[in-house]
Assembly symmetry: C3
């Protein structure tokens, strides 16, 4: 079933509008092409409504937000919501600055997000709904581990219910919940944290998975998370002794490029709670 979600992306070539940061945007574009989707980037307020109209989903990532692009996020988001498009929020750095936290909170108030994807610190910041600035490491002590897994699953389910969105918390163990069920995913490698933007890439790819699978969005979101982690495993298996994080970046995207539904189905490591 997870495999079918990937096959549906390749079959339907969903067009994804990305308002994303300039640090990792090239890799977001290439992973969207690798998985079978098609990327468009636009953040100018006067441009975003037209662009989002021709797409199937909108990926909003606040990683290098500015006053102009924030306006673009709201205008694109409202248009995408009117059109019933998939809407994803990646609250990069929420908790690290007041502007980031407040922007993410205001976006959540204004827009009916289909899915919110971030690390545990960012998601906890949003769950608190607080505009107080904190360090980026404030909540890192709360990383999801086997020992606090029950509490983490309960937290993610609760936030999914309150936010009326699918919530995906990614880290060593990934959690994806719609408020009722929660996928607990154990794909991936720690070395992925040494490649900038694997989270941003996942958000772009997840948007494509959701657009291509309108009838089962929870499974689609979980499939994207498994695909990213599995690509990290497959890409690592092709590393030579002198390869490092820059080559690993390429190999992860390459692994998505070659992945099909059968490979994903076989390699996905998850349970549903």
């Amino acid at each position: 079933m997870l495999g079918t979600c990937l096959d549906n992306v390749r079959r339907t070539v969903p067009l994804v509008h990305n308002i994303t940061n300039y640090v990792t945007v090239n890799d977001v574009a290439n992973i969207l092409l690798a998985c079978g989707g098609s990327p468009i980037m636009s953040d100018e307020p006067e441009d975003v409504e037209d662009i989002t109209t021709i797409c199937g989903g909108l990926n909003i990532n606040i990683g290098t937000l500015n006053q102009r692009s924030i306006q673009g996020m709201f205008r694109a988001g409202k248009k995408a919501a009117e059109l019933g498009h998939v809407l994803l929020l990646d609250p990069v750095g929420a908790g690290a600055s007041a502007l980031r936290t407040n922007t993410a909170v205001e976006l959540m108030k204004a827009l009916p997000f289909t899915v919110i994807r971030g690390n545990i610190s960012e998601i906890k910041t949003l769950a608190l709904g607080s505009g107080t600035t904190k360090g980026v490491d404030a909540d890192v002590a709360d990383a999801v581990t086997e020992s606090n897994l029950d509490a983490a699953v309960a937290f993610v389910k609760d936030f999914a219910q309150k936010s009326r969105a699918i919530v995906a918390v990614t880290g060593a163990i990934d959690l994806v919940s719609d408020g009722e069920r929660c996928y607990v995913i154990r794909n991936g490698r720690a070395e992925m944290g040494k490649v900038t933007g694997t989270g941003c890439q996942l958000s772009g790819m997840m948007t494509a998975f959701l657009v291509a699978n309108p009838d089962d969005r929870l499974t689609a979101a979980a499939a994207a998370v498994c695909a990213m982690g599995l690509a990290g495993e497959i890409g690592w298996s092709h590393m030579t002794e002198s390869d490092g994080n820059s080559t690993y970046r390429n190999r992860i995207i390459d692994a998505i490029y070659h992945m099909d539904g059968a490979v994903l189905e076989k390699g996905a490591k998850y349970e549903v709670r």
Copy 2:
């Protein structure tokens, strides 16, 4: 003769000012270095006139345009025109939004472009001169194929005459015309479409080719198109089984890095109509 165009780039190291999108800008810089040119990026209106003054050509790409960078495009373009520099327009997404279409149309009215390079949908939008927003796929049914080649050649020649620019339409078959003659080019591979920014890269490299070959700009533009396609073929020949689109990106630029005039001359596949 195509080979000489590349040799001239390596011999003269043309400095190219790029106002280009933030998605593919790093690859544009690296392919300019690979072909023997030298890149500078600047889009701030207060900065662009000085920067363009010290360059030989200006590459304007509207892929992630915004109100500030649009001003930069006009100011840089007017200065470059005053100085008789090579001026290239890459109308990314013309037809996909009113802002993109209108900006491209207004740039064409204001500036004496040496060359306009885009896909068939973008060029058709400009040929219509319309400011109406259309989907990005609106004209894709009109892709240049062997069966509609005569009509496509006539269209490109006609638009080149009307726009008083060299027109380069790239796709499975590439067409490059100055209104009199039309190069029909069959280099390249379909897999290049899975790498973000090969068109943007070509626009940057083509600007360098035009600067380095002032006496025969049509041949220079055709040489750049052949070089890009040939790099796609050579790069593909170095792909291993697990390599995908992210590694292919590197291999294409690497192939330009190693290409010399003799290789280009031998590998170019074209006819002139």
Copy 3:
């Protein structure tokens, strides 16, 4: 001792705030991760104070400056100065436009930079303190060579004293001075000049080295320069026949990823004058 500087980065994982250009920003992020640091990018004036507060150092690079990001540089810089953070200036293109030269000069007046890193043309522009626009190649005739080394060392020492900063001039021979001593470094390869952004990457990495080595910043700056050059040598040794500048980019960052203090200590080629 140089090796210890790298080990200290890996041990303390310094968080570096980068206000840098959108051309090379992805590589800056990946090399910071490769050396053991942690990158954050933010240039919005309303965001930068919070972000810089949680970091240990601020890397200001004016490569694609605009009116908004210039405000961000001053606001972030003042906050970083208040907090006693490491402050690095990379004056990309100083001398090539009035805006770049003036911005770099004004930043130097307003902020107590810990280190200024650039090529010889940029540093000479700043040493003159002039706001006059010049071509990018104006001072290239003055590249640091064995034959003018004594004069170059004296110039760098003098500018370091006047600017009260460590000054790092990188090129075929690199010079790093605090005004008293000057490291003369002969690591690196000429082919690094065909990869966009190796200077930007060095600036990001150098900021991390300075944050992690507060007690000997001159040695830390020299260690970063040696590490970058040595990575260029090691990365080159892994190049295959068909690899070019795009793959070289990956191999340089990969070499940093695998470098440890012992490798750096053994491979560093320098003398102190």
